[in-house]
Amino acid sequence: MFHFSKTLTFLPQFLTGAAITLGVSALGFLVGTLIGFGLLACGRSRWRVVRWIGALYTSFIRGTPLIVQIFVVYYVLPGLVGIDLPPLLAGVLALSFNSAAFVAEILRAGLTRIPSGQYEAAKALGLKPVVTWFKIIMPQLMRSIIPPMVNEFTMLVKASSILSVIAVAELTHTAQNIMNVTYRPVEAFCVAAVLYFIVLFSCSLLTRHLERKAGGARA
């Protein structure tokens, strides 16, 4: 019933697709983290309007499906801004906008875990706010956010399969293309599923390991 021989001759294409999946996810994660820090700054802003915009953005991203966000970036944004986005760029942008909201929440939660005594002690020692932020707060924040950030990257890899709807040549879209050549859809998606599982399961194991390590260090 299953005939994998024909599908497996396309293994190099599958691996290229997997590499593109990892590439767009990593890029989206990187840009998303940068925007996430911006959102964090919005949330701690002095002006209520800025805080409000940040909260609205986060709520919108977390409350709407990624597929709709991808369509908005790919079909709506060019009309509003007046530039045509190639699928790859639109895809990376959509992933970035999406992960930014989740990264901002991770950062916010991480900051609440740092006791206010740390800021006060730094102030008492006469450290400038910039020094306090980069030498005292950031190192502690980084340590506590690593497990949830790895988890967020895992979610992003999983979500990136939806980019196939705007024809980004990642793993899912590669599987669809190969299915159109071999007429063997189940085999093509099985190969894609195995590749996704290898990547995602190792990421989840890493998250679990990091969480256990962090939990042990604090106890």
Binding site: M1, S59, F60, R62, G63, T64, P65, L66, I67, V68, Q69, F71, V72, Y75, V76, G79, L80, K158, A159, S161, I162, S164, V165, T172, A175, P185, V186, F189, C190, A192, A193, Y196, F197, L200, F201, S204
Partner: protein, 224 residues
Amino acid sequence: MSFDFAVITDNWQILARGFGNTVLMCAVSLPLGFALGVVLALVRLRGGRVPAAIVSAYVELFRNIPFLIQIFLLFYALPMFGIRLSPVVVSIGALSAYASAYSAEIIRGAIQSISYGQVEAGYALGLRYLTIFRKILVPQVLGYILPAATNLTITLIKESAILSAITVPELTYMAQNIIGRTFSPVEIFTAIALLYWGLTALVAAISRSLEHRLQPHLAARRGA
């Protein structure tokens, strides 16, 4: 560029039908998936080594393969075995299986979060098991499950949009249909984004009020 509200008002019935299907599919698959999740969690905790290993393989497979790939596999594999079902039924099956894997983990975590010492303490105080179950175990398990179940519900609503890829007549698919006829992505995508946003916000609000009603003592302590 101008925002043409007429496109939305002209097609509101199609959008409403899609929205109804989205709500219906999620409303059916959530209890189904949750019930299956309870069984899976119990098998994993009490079912012996081999059944537990099978359940944990099931859970990890559904959690570590993108939902889009899962529905493509289901959509193309079922006809190979001579099973022909309507897209809506396939979708409910896929959403339920997905929800069951996640809720199994939620329930397992909830059960493991309660130490057996509490049951023993209840017995030591002379309480009957039913009282212990109702007054000590259930409130704590619910307090653990409710926020996680809310997140799962919202995730499920959002994942259901992906079903548009296999031509299920839910909200996103209906939107794509309208756009195919009217070439007005801005208005229609804005409309469905707001519909999804409203739906998930409603779920979150219901969950918050439930949480207050279930655990007034905790709500008071949190100052909420």
